[in-house]
């Protein structure tokens, strides 16, 4: 065994360890190291640590535990380490690392706590700290909730700094001079006389000394990479076709497969006739699996063709077969028995509404598929002693545990190789495809099996975004919004999603009201109530989760009241907003859009605001009401993220979030008929096309006290800003998504 030393720093322990031919730097949590992720893949004499930096004869490896599904996570994580380590990104390898309980995600559980993100008082901070503990022991190495940057902001820089100072210390003793005289750049330590020692040659020496942990992080003013335009490390491979995604991956001796599952999700399979399929060219096996069959062939297309040739007798869906039943269930959920949370109850709504001119409205949003462009896939090889899984996933730890249970092996024997993902939007927070592939691979031990979903199968089993309904009541007084009462009913996303992982999450589901109860407005009489509807179709987290529906409900209904008050939509929101950084966001979009200027005939602008994942985001949208329908002309977005870590990627992600939000608001929905999703491919689930894409202007503000992620927050304000703009241009108030059920788009 190599030596392991740890020194306490803040709440975590940082240490170094000897590995073959070099050194690793990383963390232990809570004094007791979690089971070591690399242990099983390291040879004899190597040490246990959860590393973020590894230096050995192969060079320098930065380990970036948070998955990259297109948001640039690998690049930003690598840059956070490299900034302090003094290496350039083209000098290092970047590796997502195997699943490990020590790569826990603190920021995600924080936002699950019942406090507003704006509330940084003592109570809120201490509850967040407590919430962090169970998360740690659950070992959630989860990528989600826009937490990659908040979670890694300090940890990764500290890891880089400790590694750099330790390497300097090793060089100092080798050269017999004081470490303070040494400089570092380009992965080398440089002595005053110009002598250069590379990190790689210093690594064995660094492994033999105590790590230097009395470091201080560099002042952001000295940063050479962070907060400047960076070239993403994956941009060349993604522009030359060289990047291998999960669906492109190949392992020796692999066979191609696909699955066909009951399109009435969760329904039984009563029987099937595969006699025609069995005879088709290239078909190797037809394997019954939970809820359907796997078809194994020598080519993906042949597997899909054969799967389509099987005749099935499917059982009934465990949820209403038609949409009427889904809506009725929601409609009947606004009752005391189903009341789950009333986290905001300011003033006295009931009294205020008595005798007032009450505005009442009902809002609806549909199920939505994630439908990332890369259909889901997984490769699994099962032997008697180990399982190897190659897939693009956001939840490797959960998968590791469930596959261990399925195969009867220890979790340590389940090796997950995380691959690049062609988008996710929350889709890869599910791992059914892995479980199905394991079932097939268990029937053909020793042979790696690759399952690729057809696009149609992916749509049929997407685990869509929640369906939801809201009822608002409110009134204006003296030209101001005076009372606002919003009730929201939806099934619990968290219960549905965690249920598939055999976890039950106690307490109210914060997502039922996220994006509504936690908005920084001081309306005198202001109440938000969440009702938990019974489970309907299985649902899952969809980019921005609860706020994806509630942002639309909350802001559009506020817009109705502002108009009823006869106030200016932007000015009234600014007046009501008590949270300084949020107010600045509203003022910024006002300034960017030239709010108040004359747009000319048949045009209108709308504003919307939503704070989600701690990010205040406001959008102004301008539309033209043409003879053929609505044209979206321009979008202005301002978001408060504490610090813009990578301006180019920030701009790209915000624009992408707006396009995603608008595209779905315009024309997307998943509906069920006969228990099956009616939308089977992109022809009836189109989203936005390039010709419809407006000009989008983006501004990142840095007035907040915390670093926040930007993957999700631009989504919630997009739909309400568009609906509010359509109202401004046409006088038509649309309270249901997708908007094209009521108005055309050009």
């Amino acid at each position: 065994m190599g030596r392991i030393r740890t020194i306490a720093r803040r709440t975590f322990l940082i240490g170094s360890a000897t590995i073959v031919g070099g050194v690793a730097f990383g963390y232990y949590m809570y004094q007791r190291p979690s089971a070591n992720p690399l242990l099983t893949d390291l040879g004899e004499g190597e040490a246990a640590i959860t590393p973020y930096v590894k230096i050995d004869a192969d060079g320098i490896t930065l380990i970036t535990p948070r998955a990259d599904k297109g948001q640039g996570a690998y690049s930003i994580q690598a840059a956070l380490i490299a900034e302090e380590l003094d290496v350039e990104l083209d000098q290092v390898n970047v590796d997502p690392g195997p699943p490990s309980p020590a790569y826990y995600n603190t920021a995600l559980s924080e936002e699950g706590a019942p406090f507003m993100s704006t509330d940084e008082g003592f109570m809120a901070e201490s509850i967040r700290a407590v919430m962090d503990v169970p998360m740690k022991f659950l070992g959630m190495q989860v990528t989600g909730g826009s937490t990659t940057v908040p979670d890694g902001y300090e940890k990764l820089r500290i890891a880089g700094a400790v590694a750099r100072e330790t390497l300097k210390s090793a060089a100092a003793s080798k050269l017999g001079i004081d470490p303070d005289q040494l400089k570092t750049a380009n992965a080398t330590v440089i002595a005053p006389d110009g002598t250069e020692l590379s990190y790689v040659e210093l690594a064995p020496l660094a492994a033999a000394i105590d790590p230097v942990t009395n470091i201080s992080l560099r002042d952001p003013k000295q940063w050479r990479m962070l907060c400047r335009p960076m070239q993403r490390i994956d941009i060349v491979p993604k522009s030359t076709g060289a990047l291998k995604y999960g669906i492109d991956y190949e392992v020796d001796g692999m066979v191609h497969a696909t699955v066909k599952l009951n399109p009435r999700q969760g329904g039984a399979i009563n029987g099937f006739d595969a006699s025609a399929a069995e005879k088709m060219r290239g078909v190797k096996a037809i394997v019954p699996i939970t809820g359907g069959v796997g078809v194994v062939a020598d080519n993906t297309w042949r597997a899909i063709q054969a799967a389509n040739a099987i005749e099935f007798d499917w059982g009934e869906a465990p949820y209403p077969a038609e949409m009427d039943g889904h809506w009725q269930t929601l409609s009947e959920s606004f009752i005391e028995d189903r009341l789950e949370s009333r986290q905001r109850d300011d003033g006295d709504v009931e009294t205020a509404l008595q005798g007032a001119d009450v505005i009442e409205a009902e809002y609806r949003v549909p199920y939505l598929a994630h439908a990332p462009l890369e259909p889901i896939s997984a490769i699994v090889k099962v032997t008697d002693t180990r399982v190897d899984i190659w897939t693009g996933t956001q939840i490797p730890r959960f998968t590791q545990n469930s596959v261990a249970a399925m195969t009867g092996l220890d979790a340590e024997a389940v090796h997950i190789h995380v691959l690049m993902m062609g988008g996710s939007f929350g889709h890869r927070l599910e791992d059914e495809v892995v479980k199905q592939t394991v079932e097939i691979a268990m029937a053909m031990k020793g042979t790696p099996v690759k399952v690729t979903y057809s696009r149609e199968e992916d749509f049929a089993h997407d685990f869509p975004r929640q369906i939801a309904m809201a009822r608002g009541r409110g009134a204006a007084r003296d030209g101001q919004v005076d009372s606002y009462d919003l009730s929201i009913a939806m099934p619990s996303v968290i219960a549905s999603q965690m249920g598939r992982q055999n976890f039950s999450v106690p307490g109210p589901d914060s997502q039922i009201v996220a994006g509504a109860w936690d908005q920084p407005f001081a309306i005198p009489n202001y109440r938000t109530t969440g009702y938990r509807a019974p489970e309907l179709a299985p649902i899952s987290s969809w980019r921005s989760v609860g706020a994806s529906s509630n942002g639309f409900f909350h802001d559009c209904f506020l817009d109705e009241l502002v108009h009823a008050a006869g106030a200016d939509p932007l000015e009234e929101r600014i007046r009501l907003c008590w949270h300084e950084p949020s107010r600045k966001v509203l003022e910024a979009v006002g300034e960017m859009s030239g709010w108040g200027s004359d747009l000319g005939p048949n045009r209108g602008r709308g504003v919307a605001f939503c704070m989600s994942f701690g990010v205040s985001c406001a959008e102004v949208i301008e539309v033209t009401n043409t003879d053929a329908g609505i044209k979206i002309d321009k979008v202005y977005v301002a978001a408060e993220v504490g610090k813009v870590m990578d301006p180019v990627n920030f701009d790209n992600l915000v624009k992408g979030g707006v396009v995603f939000g608008l595209g779905h608001a315009m024309n997307c929905q998943i509906t069920y008929s006969d228990g099956m999703a009616e939308q089977t491919n992109y022809h009836d689930y189109e989203g936005m096309r390039l010709y419809q894409c407006p000009q989008i202007e983006v501004r990142g503000l840095e007035n907040g006290s915390k670093i926040r992620g930007i993957g999700e927050p631009p989504v919630p304000p997009a739909a309400p800003a568009l609906a509010n703009a359509i109202f401004a241009a046409t006088g038509q108030r649309i309270r249901e998504l997708p908007l094209n059920k009521h108005i055309d788009f050009v």
């Binding site: 599904k69 297109g70 948001q71 640039g72 070239q231 993403r232 994956d234 941009i235 060349v236 993604k238 522009s239 030359t240 076709g241 060289a242 990047l243 291998k244 995604y245 669906i247 492109d248 190949e250 191609h256 060219r281 080519n299 993906t300 297309w301 439908a371 990332p372 462009l373 890369e374 259909p375 993902m421 062609g422 988008g423 996710s424 939007f425 690729t452 057809s454 696009r455 990627n649 790209n652 992600l653 624009k655 992408g656 979030g657 707006v658 396009v659 995603f660 595209g663 491919n681 992109y682 022809h683 189109e686 989203g687 936005m688 096309r689 390039l690 010709y691 419809q692 894409c693 989008i696």
Partner: protein
Amino acid sequence: MQIMVNGTTHEVDVEEDMPLLWVLRDELGITGPKYGCGIAQCGACTVHVDGVAVRSCQLAAGDVDGEVTTIEGLGTPDALHAVQEAWIEHQVAQCGYCQSGQIMAAASFLETNPEPTDDDIDRAMSANLCRCGTYPRIREAVRSAATKLMEA
């Protein structure tokens, strides 16, 4: 049957009706062309046949009557095509899964229309879906690729 891809002739033993996409991906291991929809809706599978963009998920292997170029044959990291250069400069990709198809569509479009207007670009590139919403950058990259190609 024989099929010529990126300058190399391959002998493949496949059904006449197997889409070119799957011949490339599963028989020849050329994975730049992506499977997105299989029904001509997304453009992720776009390749060139004799320089013209086609959707390889819609072209049966038996109907391939020219030389196939995939993104791998358009340019390489050491010898980038002008469209790829522009894509890198503008950092278009997010997940990147659609981008092979976007780049192949843009390269073929600029061959036929070297001086496109913004409307031309919108029309030509709208058949390719990007779920990550990189459209604003695609527009900019096509414009600068056009300039590069004109200057070259």
